[in-house]
Symmetry: D2
Subunit: 461 residues, 4 copies
């Protein structure tokens, strides 16, 4: 990471916020208020497990998950990096079932074993799904350098050897296990790109080059009141440098026609979780806008009120799309339940386009100090601090430091390195708007609508 070889992740300052974010999902398990949401009986190991590793069986499970995600949001955490564990397990479980059914392979048994381990140990899976891709107009096997998509380079009796890299390894170093996911080959010729496996995070020939959440490692609580505590994850380039994977860890290898299914299920599940993260983010934006407007003495200004109402509408839309996806989901033959793709992708495309508005409204309420307020050092320095104490005052009754902290919160959420990272999460993370519009169009019955239009027009084709 940034030229440094990290020996001890746990104590390194760059990893604190990320680890603490993941920790929230574990801590909630201890809170009585959330027991019903966090604990659930696993039909796989027939024990009580954390809902984060649970395979959903029906819409009630899905609705509970929406509520759990909302609870995480209330714990101030946009991203505990826990949702992907379930996304990966569900998709792997269902896809391996289908492959085995067709080819009489043994992938599903591997998936069952893997699921048991994850559930028993309450693991986090680091999912590695996005290839470098090189020339984006070309697919797996079409690039000049064949390694720009992850692929199998060797098969032995013991297992396979994989080569390639994955770009957006959020939280990878502090997960328990990595799942490597191939891309979707267009033809059988590229079937070596159809691969799915898992591996311990400390496997040999697995190389992780990380990026710290901010250039200066040390986040300060005053400057980054939110992201010094939560959300600011370490990102990584994860390289499979001819890494060996034993057959028991392989969940797909060459049955290329199933790769698209896998990604479709993975993405529906993941973007569904993201809807609720975005709800959490919007809800914090709403509260922050209301708070700073209040401190500035304009809590009741009509234009601020209107801005907040727009944010509330967006938040409610995202929550409702997540709920509808849960309610109208579908049960795979293998027993696991998936949210409906259409509302999920509608939500992802919708919310990506709303990030700018969210930030506009927060800054509009806060004013220019978001970008110009002098530093904490000067505030703590008696020589300069007295001036800041006097001149950064808000409405009567609000201590200056409270207002300064509220402004710093707006800065942290709209104008910091963390806000830059989160913006990218919201826009391209889980797939950019165009990708989700494609899913939307694939999942809407356009022909049925056209037939309705024909009837409306009185046309008998």
């Amino acid at each position: 990471m940034a030229g440094e070889e990290i020996k001890n992740i746990v104590d390194h300052p760059a990893f604190q916020a990320g680890i603490r974010s993941a920790g929230v999902t574990y801590e909630m398990g201890e809170e009585p208020e959330y027991q019903d949401l966090t604990k659930v009986r696993s039909p796989v190991i027939n024990e009580d497990i954390s809902r984060w590793t649970h395979l959903m069986q029906n819409e009630q499970d899905a609705i509970s998950k929406v509520k759990l995600m909302r609870g995480v949001g209330e714990h101030l955490c946009f991203c505990g990096y826990r949702c992907l564990t379930a996304d990966a397990l569900h998709a792997a479980w269902a896809m391996t079932y289908d492959v085995d059914k067709k080819y009489n392979t043994r992938y599903h048994q591997n998936a069952i074993e893997f699921t048991k381990q994850v559930q028993k140990n309450d693991w986090i899976i680091g999912t590695c799904s996005v290839d470098p891709k090189g020339d984006r107009s070309k697919g797996p096997g079409e690039q000049t350098d064949p390694d720009l998509h992850l692929h199998v380079v060797k098969r032995t009796n013991e297992g396979i050897v994989v080569r390639g890299a994955k770009c957006h390894g959020t939280a990878s170093p502090y997960t328990n296990v990595i799942m490597g996911m191939g891309s979707i080959p267009k033809t059988e010729k590229a079937k070596d790109y159809a691969v799915l496996f898992y591996t311990p995070v400390d496997a040999e020939r697995l190389i992780i080059i990380s990026r710290p959440p901010r250039k200066s490692y040390q986040a300060r609580e005053f400057d980054n009141p939110f992201s010094s505590k939560y959300g600011a994850h370490v990102e990584s380039l994860v390289i499979f440098d001819d890494m060996f994977v034993p057959w028991e860890h392989v969940l797909l290898c060459g049955e290329y026609e199933f790769m698209a299914d896998f990604h479709r299920m993975l993405r529906a599940s993941h973007a569904w979780h993201k809807s609720m993260c975005r709800w959490a983010s919007l809800d914090l934006s709403i509260g922050t806008t209301a708070l700073i407007a209040d401190y500035n003495g304009v809590g009741h200004a009509p234009h601020i009120w209107n801005n907040i109402s727009e944010l509330v509408i967006s938040a409610e839309i995202l929550h409702s799309l997540a709920l509808a996806a849960a309610l109208e989901g579908w049960k795979h033959e293998s027993g696991v339940y998936f949210p409906k793709a259409l509302p999920v992708s509608a939500g992802k495309a919708y919310s990506a386009c709303k990030v700018g508005e969210e930030r506009l409204f927060m800054q509009d309420a806060a004013g220019g100090l978001v970008a110009t307020m002098a530093s904490e050092e000067d505030y703590r320095n008696p020589k300069t601090g007295k001036y800041m104490e006097k001149y950064y005052k808000g409405r009567d009754g609000v201590p200056t430091e409270h207002r300064m902290r509220a402004i710093k919160l707006v800065e942290d959420l709209t104008a910091s390195e963390f806000s830059g990272w989160y913006q990218a999460m919201a826009i391209t993370g889980g797939g950019p708007p165009f990708y989700h519009k494609q899913i939307v169009m694939e999942n809407y019955d356009l022909e049925k609508s056209k037939r309705k239009a024909l009837r409306a027009a009185g046309i008998k084709e």
Copy 2:
């Protein structure tokens, strides 16, 4: 209506489309495919009744209603004017229960009797809720002319005498019974405005001044392929010209503090139904855009594809908001179930602002002929028709008349008197955007969000 005294509504051309639209809701009851949705056991009369008059008991009832509304949309009908019957019954049922509980009055018994009649006879209630209001900055009792809001002018042993008018009496003449609804008084002084009652549509001193759905009564199927069949309702100014209402038909009279509750419940229910109407409208817009683009040979143009995907996202948002409102609704102590107000009002405010986009996309795909295509008369005239046949041709394989009809459908939906009426329904019908933003803000727990922001900012107030 337009200077004419209407003796026979049933055969009058101006009423055809409206009556046919309402008819759809009855006809669906006969279709086997919709039996499960249209029929339901009434806990009030313990008989199978139409779901349109059913009092919902739980979220499952609510979800079924969403599906029923979707079914109506598939029958090409944006507005069967049937939803308001249930809106009125639910709100009256619950509100009278509360009033009786507090004041030991007998309104709820009246509501029960009324509900029984409506359910037994499968009636449509014409709801009359919006006062003329005069100066909109003033409330009931504050206007120079006290009659600009409906109010009680006399009480006798037999009943009450009411005076006032209601502005947007959609479908009133062809309903079975009219429900008159007072406005919300701000103080006890204006309690005469707190009134709720029902009356036969042919009561004495009940005057209805109607407006035809189009200036030329006769809709032609070619020119208005959709609205000549469905949706184009007669609107009315309904006047209560010192009309007498017997006590057994009175559901509220003077207990002014309950009027706001009534309207809150009525509007939540009504705007919820409207979400699904708007879904039906959006779905038809989607199909129509796809159809005319196909006929024009540009069905796969990227910008058309993108426009359609935007419409699909909007449609799915509305459907999901309706579902979420059903799922997260609440049961009133009296036993009836209401959808949640927040997603409902979010949907109404959201969709009002989307009408323009919907029309832009349809017209963009159709081209200028929407506004310039010559008339059916000239098409049927051999002298001129041959030119139109030749020059209004679309892509190969599409008969000219089909393309002309598709263009006429776009005109009907975007550039006709009907489209003007429907636009107003979508924008101000059921309350304009600002009204629903107010409901959104009342129903969102802003203080909770602010507390979250305080925690995020590290502020201990």
Copy 3:
């Protein structure tokens, strides 16, 4: 028109509003206040002429034209159908000059003669530019029916014979002369489609099938206060049924590589004029919104104020784009001056997407009566009129009839057949958004911006 053969256009009710609109442009010539704008010295005939037929020589001419268009807007007229006369003359003048220069042809002399006639007689040219096009994914000469684009079918010593039709012949029957414009051939093979000529409007084998501005011919001043007076033009399908054109009226015939230039110049000029029409429309929307809000007693409501401010911003953007196009235009070698295409097309694409908002804001201020108010007949009828007088009252001090007229104005502008026609004018008239985005992209120096990005990124390619 609609099955009727029109013998006398002047007295026919369907043509009144269109003729009156064109008339405005002549009447302004008599008003002292507008003398400086309407009269100008023609360098072609060296006489004072109307600016509507003037060939602009420089940016000052262009700025004056913007002001003249604004003056027309102040005369309540969105569309006097006068701008296209100049659009056609400028493009024909410049293009013929270039053709003659290359091929030593005599088209420019014809253009000069034509210009002289138009200027001397103060003519209106009916431009016919948009082909039926059939399958829009195919160009001239690629359709199954070759006549779906206008083309030359015969050449003789005396002239040419043309066949085809033009779709959106706004105002055609009441212009003085028709200009027929070919489409842009992709290859020389299709050079017969490269044709430009003019013809008297009563030429033999020129067939006009018209569409009345509303289904019921008779516009009533109360119901359509605006469009009964102005703007509601007759549209036509104009057919060149093997029509003969003498060589002196031919401005291009076969020099296919010039057709694109012609259309580029024509469209830049035309869309520029349309920017100012849209300003006039927006300005009326602003005034109408303010008026009805005032009558309703909510003239100072913050959300109405905000809506109006949005409309004002849009109006000012359009005015500024028109001015900038005038200021940064270019002088063709032949002496005529053209507005800059980039701001013009930016404005057309921008404003097409704003129509929906304009209507939303007007209706939001007006309320549901836009779609439900009873008819004038009932208002004039003493039996029903007294109720309407009483109940359609607005704030104190506003006569009921004034409020009713203001509501009818909103209806006329947002929910009438006229508003349907105008919407199509605003969206697809002069080219749909996608077309203008293409022009925007052709006219922006993207490579220069990329070079700037390279410098910003510190990349030396």
Copy 4:
């Protein structure tokens, strides 16, 4: 600054980008290509001076200024902090002229002397205009602490003593002279708040608490390719701690009714300049989007093309608003020329709402690496660099480092501390959207539009 007392601004790393940005405006004066724009004859000192200090006399001057601003944008500089010098001089010149005319004071003579100094020495004025304001719902003199707006606390024969602070002192430490500007008092009682003066930047009792452009002082060229060179200004809280100002430096003191005029002129001029800064920013966004899309192999994807066309439209709108404001400006009686306020404020409000879209489109084209790409240190380290070289490759023909730099440029422009600062500049700098909507509404002749609506509705009031 950040706890450090800065002795030497020139060599301190935190000031480099800011000083370099200002430097661009001086360097351009030496470039032959820009001679006509940068040099101009001053009517005040009758010498050739820099246009940055010139008092505009007419629209030609204003148009030249627009071109000069565009030139600065082409030099990669959004903000040279030079425009405010002219903004302040124009407004002071005109306002003092009016005050002297009314009160026979000597402020204008002071303004003339000041202008001469600024022009002769080619100075930059640091304008200090925005008060802390405390409770924003209260004005000058209404706060609990009277010092929350700058005011005069003492008058002597020699001069005045001022107390207060100004919040957003962009670039203050590296300007030549500070101009202190009072707020607008509502009544005469608060006339001590009506004050305008200038002072050397190193005056006694003038205290500047600065904030560095990024938490880690040292910008690296690779990580922040743009903002390490340009734009990243130091912001300051500027405190007038009972500072003395001699009468010859006082430009207003107590004539409170002129303060609003001053700010109106200052803001119109300043927001006008900002239109062109925003153009420069949009143009760089356009180039950056095109560049990274090209490197990713999707330079011709329709959705990217569409996004770029939207940005071009926005850029052209801003350029045109600036030009129109220049063309339709007004000449003050004192001889100086001002841009028209309406298009200027329309542009500011419009562009503030477009920042989000700009960033969405850049990130959409670039992909997730904006937030996840590993660091330069690891790229330069042979052990890890080889993997990044391989896996961060774009389309063939593009060196990996070029693509990495292009991605870093997107990060710098959308997801860095600099981008946070610039976002606030674009949203609230020069006044937030609501402020400019107020100006828009004050400057639009709404009554004229209403009269037009009355005529359109056929209402004779």
